[in-house]
Symmetry: C2
């Protein structure tokens, strides 16, 4: 059994979709033996509730893609304001342009989850460990990967009992929503729409 | 040539991905002849830049799905704080449980775009008119639809020159990011990460 970092708690699989439901930018990490990498991806989403499944677009030229195809696994880590610079670094610099791996180059700390060997990225607020559901047609034509979530975690300071609590957590823990050219928006204020008054 | 509503401007297709890149919840509308419907979907994302393509999950039991399969077209409209109640209404009530269509029932105004016959939803801030790329395997196994964006529009008060400007627009125009159970977050503050200082 792993010892998880402080504040990191398992999330029940049936609630895992909620970690991505509001559309955050993610980090995608993968490992194949001693080879490992991490990149940023703005294009991911849930595709099923239970068992939870996700979709993510991973460019065919990336080293992360090579590792995912070799291992059949990937991890989505959800970065936040405090990891915005790291998100741009791993999203802008290609592993093949470096002489050391991105973790060493950018001082990125990781931890181990259960079920998959790919590293989970520290200084994030949620994590989804996934096994790829092979769909060669999607992968080749659209760089689109489907995967089953086999373990999920969140930072208890900002996600508990199946709900995000950005409004009562430190600002640094708000998720990032990328637009382009280094421009992000952080997630903002909560809004509750009562459903019991809906006309039937 | 259509006359677009006040503040609605065409978006160049190569910038259309930016309308969804930050992960907003969307409305999905479709029409087949005189039959038309609209539903909410939290699960959509871009999958390509140019030509722009999107992915969206559409439950097999919905009337919207039937109309999409009949017409090969769909429209994604991006709602905002001022359309939060309507988003919950069309996301909670099924068309088949109503004796009139949702547009009449909930007083939803629409307008016409070019290229597709499905209605664009008023009181939203961005619109993507799409033609379905048939992938029967994805549709049947995962309720996952891929589509090419053939026309795009945005409200010039909040999206101009290829960029969102939530911070200088009325609060009512901030996009919605759904979690569960009527709980949304609005998009928040901008964050710019300089890339020119990145280690190479």
């Amino acid at each position: 059994m792993n010892t998880l970092p402080e504040h990191v708690r398992p999330v029940p699989l049936e609630k895992a979709y909620r970690l991505l439901n509001h559309g955050p930018t993610v980090l995608v990490s993968a490992a194949d033996g001693a080879r490992r990498n991490v990149m940023a991806a703005a294009w991911s989403m849930p595709v099923d509730f239970n068992p939870p499944k996700v979709a993510v677009v991973i460019d065919g030229a990336t080293f992360t893609r090579e590792l995912i195809e070799a291992s059949g696994e990937l991890v989505l880590s959800v970065p936040c304001r405090e990891s915005a610079e790291m998100t741009m670094q791993v999203g802008t610099v290609g592993a093949r342009d470096l002489t050391e791996d991105k973790f060493s180059r950018f001082g990125i700390a990781t931890f181990a989850g259960s079920k998959v060997s790919a590293p989970l990225i520290r200084d994030c607020v949620a994590w989804l460990a996934c096994q790829v559901l092979p769909h060669p047609g999607n992968e080749q034509a659209h760089d689109l990967f489907l995967a089953t979530v086999v373990a999920a975690y969140a930072d208890e300071r900002v996600f508990t009992d199946g709900h995000w609590h950005f409004e009562t957590a430190p600002e640094a823990l708000r998720t990032l929503h990328y637009v382009a050219g280094g421009h992000f928006y952080a997630i903002g204020d909560p809004l509750v729409v009562r459903t019991d008054g809906l006309p039937g």
